[in-house]
Symmetry: C2
Subunit: 205 residues, 2 copies
């Protein structure tokens, strides 16, 4: 008998994966140990030049604080994902995935890591997606307050063990998903990320 | 004798242009009548897959409020433009250019216009730049406050007649530039935008 556990996939610390998510399916991104970030990208499966856009999303949703009920829009003004459940209420859609360059810039005394950017690029390469096609990711659980003067800072995520966000695919998608590699975004404690896919109405009850 | 006036080019209301800007040159974007927005894009001239990125810029500059001294970074983590002068101090790098889709969404009772997005796409087409390669623009003079709860709104620009921003090219660039077409971003008064190019050290004194 299949249990919930067997449906959950673990992303090892500082790695990333890519997979298809059919229209109607729900993707649950879980922070199993707490205080970890997961960078999420979504491309239209039938034409990967269509991809989530922070600018279109901020415009249509009229907020940068995205949570239950909000939609993630593409560069072609289509809704790719809707947020159906969110036990954290804190995510970031301002900042690009960490990369070799951001490691050199922000952590000059630390070993350079290819970061979520490199992990996403490798995971997405088999769909023909290139580095230049990687936009700002929807960074689940990432805590980036915007202060009154416009300055921003990256704080540890408020997520506790088992916290999750559930996103429903509104189109057939290719998803990229990581367990974050940067120091600032997870308080320096690199941890795994879990995810689960529930197929819309096709799941046996 | 060449005067300042002959060096200034006017962008007609609700239109856009594209041009090359050599490394070292300064681009001055002027709001001649006040309360108007100009969407600005910058691509690396030798490979237009490199383009300004709001996410990389917010990350490296550690602010969403960009003004004199700030730099506009590319998706490849290079500085493409630096802001050398700014008489307004209010610009937006959160929202994508207005388009047919945003007109249908925000102004359902108004005629659909192709917007800055359509104007930029047409102007940039001769450089082989496609619609899908148009990211969030740096929206000069656009007034998009972010409230404490993360919500945003689009208010009329605070720019007065003659206000300007000066950006210096750090690489050879292709620039796209508009006089904005949307109602909300300029208080419903469609106006022109002026710009001037000063060639780095090559200008005769």
């Amino acid at each position: 008998m299949q249990t919930c556990d067997t449906q959950t996939t673990r992303i090892a610390p500082r790695t990333g994966v890519a997979f298809t998510l059919p229209k109607g399916a729900a993707l649950t991104v879980i922070d199993p140990e707490g205080t970890q970030v997961s960078d999420l990208l979504a491309f239209a499966a039938d034409d990967v030049r269509e991809v989530i856009s922070n600018g279109r999303t901020f415009d249509y949703e009229e907020t940068i604080a995205l949570t239950t009920g909000n939609r993630l829009w593409s560069n072609r003004s289509r809704v790719l994902l809707t947020i159906e459940e969110d036990t954290v209420g804190r995510h970031d859609f301002l900042l690009t995935p960490c990369s070799k360059d951001t490691f050199r810039h922000f952590y000059p005394d630390k070993p350079v890591h290819r970061g979520c950017f490199g992990n996403l690029a490798e995971a997405l390469a088999s769909w023909g997606i290139t580095e230049d096609q990687i936009p700002v990711a929807f960074n689940c659980f990432m805590n980036v307050p915007v202060h009154g003067d416009g300055s921003i800072e990256v704080l540890p995520p408020p997520s506790r063990p088992g916290d999750r966000i559930v996103l429903r695919a509104q189109e057939d998608l290719v998803i990229g998903l990581t367990a974050c590699s940067a120091y600032a975004s997870n308080g320096g404690a690199f941890k795994p990320i879990d995810y689960r896919i529930d197929q819309g109405g096709e799941v046996p009850s």
